[in-house]
């Protein structure tokens, strides 16, 4: 009888220790993957920087071009040249800047969420 309760206590202690170890292990692994992801984001060097630059460029140009085309077509449709062209060109430039801004703050915003 005495033996059995000793066994149970020992088993409980071992379980607790195992749970602790597992927790620690998991924490370490999580830390490592987080650090690795961070390194992946910052550590690709020239290629990464160039592709980011290209992204900024294409987002900005695409915003402007889409705005201009929208305004131009609205003008052609409504016969109000050049009111909408000017308006939508301005909006397109704003959209381009907005895209670039979002690109710049994007990762932090996502992390905060």
């Amino acid at each position: 009888m005495q033996d059995k309760s000793d066994d149970a206590d020992e088993l409980k202690a071992r379980l607790a220790r195992l749970a602790n170890d597992l927790q620690a292990q998991r924490g370490a692994v999580d830390d490592e993957t987080a650090r690795k992801a961070e390194a992946d984001l910052t550590d690709k060097g020239l290629g990464q920087a160039m592709s980011l630059g290209f992204r900024v460029l294409s987002e900005f140009v695409a915003g402007t071009v889409v705005g201009a085309v929208l305004g131009w077509q609205l003008d052609a449709w409504l016969g109000t040249s050049p009111v909408f062209l000017i308006l939508f060109l301005g909006l397109g430039v704003a959209a381009g800047f907005w895209n670039v801004y979002r690109l710049a703050v994007g990762p932090q915003g996502r992390r905060g969420r």
Partner: protein
């Protein structure tokens, strides 16, 4: 002059040649060199995935490792950007990534044709992606999906402008997505071709032939760089697909 023209014409590599003329109901559906290389790309991907996953060894061989790496890479990319809900789009994103990646890669081999250097190909991809985003967004969220264009916490005075700007920036997505991939591929291949022409011209220019190795070294470095660009552009294309799909899955941020 006519002999020199192919060397000096960096655009020549992008010409579409009809291999087997075909016309369906007045629409030109000829089998061209572009179609041929699309078939080649599909065959390579199919070979990699089918043979790579057929063995199911516990200790994977090379092909299986490649196939598993591709799967893990795309799966973790989707989970990071679009969450677990994005995994239902895994087949789509994986197909897009593999096709773009292999077409960039195969295009780097001399005498091949780069499918992604044709704007119509990249635009067809990005238009499909945006249509999928719109379709899934409206199907899943109904008119609630339009909240995507109405950010929260904006003063009512500015709201109409912000909504217009958001709509324009959404409409710019397929264009920026397609032009980026197309531009990178086009510019890279033209640069390689021009450097190649430099080598030939310098080698045939008497004493200047001593300088010919310089652009040749440039080609070697550029090819390595283009290899990186090929991967990065496929990666950017796929990750933006995930980001846009994330908008369709969770609109209104």
């Amino acid at each position: 002059m006519s002999e020199a023209a192919p060397v000096m014409d960096p655009i020549h590599q992008f010409h579409i040649k009809v291999l087997a003329p075909l016309s369906i109901g007045g629409v030109d559906a000829s089998f061209t060199n572009a179609s041929l290389f699309m078939v080649v790309i599909l065959a390579v991907i199919a070979f990699l995935m089918i043979v790579g996953t057929s063995g199911e060894h516990i200790i994977p061989n090379r092909l299986q490792t490649l196939a598993e790496m591709a799967y893990e890479f795309v799966a973790s990319m989707i989970r990071q950007t679009a969450g677990d809900a994005g995994m239902r789009f895994f087949p789509f994103v994986f197909s897009v990534f593999m096709f773009v990646f292999f077409s960039n890669l195969i295009g780097l081999i001399p005498y091949t044709f780069t499918v992604t250097s044709q704007i119509i190909v990249t635009f067809a991809f990005s238009a499909t992606i945006i249509l999928l985003v719109l379709g899934y967004g409206f199907y899943k969220h109904g008119t609630h999906f339009l909240r995507l264009f109405v950010p929260s916490g904006v003063s009512p005075l500015l709201l109409p402008f912000i909504v217009l700007i958001e709509i324009i920036s959404f409409a710019a997505r397929p264009i920026s997505l397609s032009v980026r991939l197309f531009g990178n591929m086009l510019a890279g291949h033209i640069t390689l071709k021009i450097f190649g022409a430099f080598v030939v011209m310098l080698a045939g220019a008497g004493a200047y032939a001593l300088l010919a190795p310089l652009p040749f070294i440039g080609i070697i470095l550029l090819t390595a760089f283009e290899l990186l660009v090929a991967f990065l552009q496929a990666y950017v294309f796929a990750i933006l697909t995930c980001v846009y799909l994330n908008d369709a899955i969770h609109p209104g941020h």
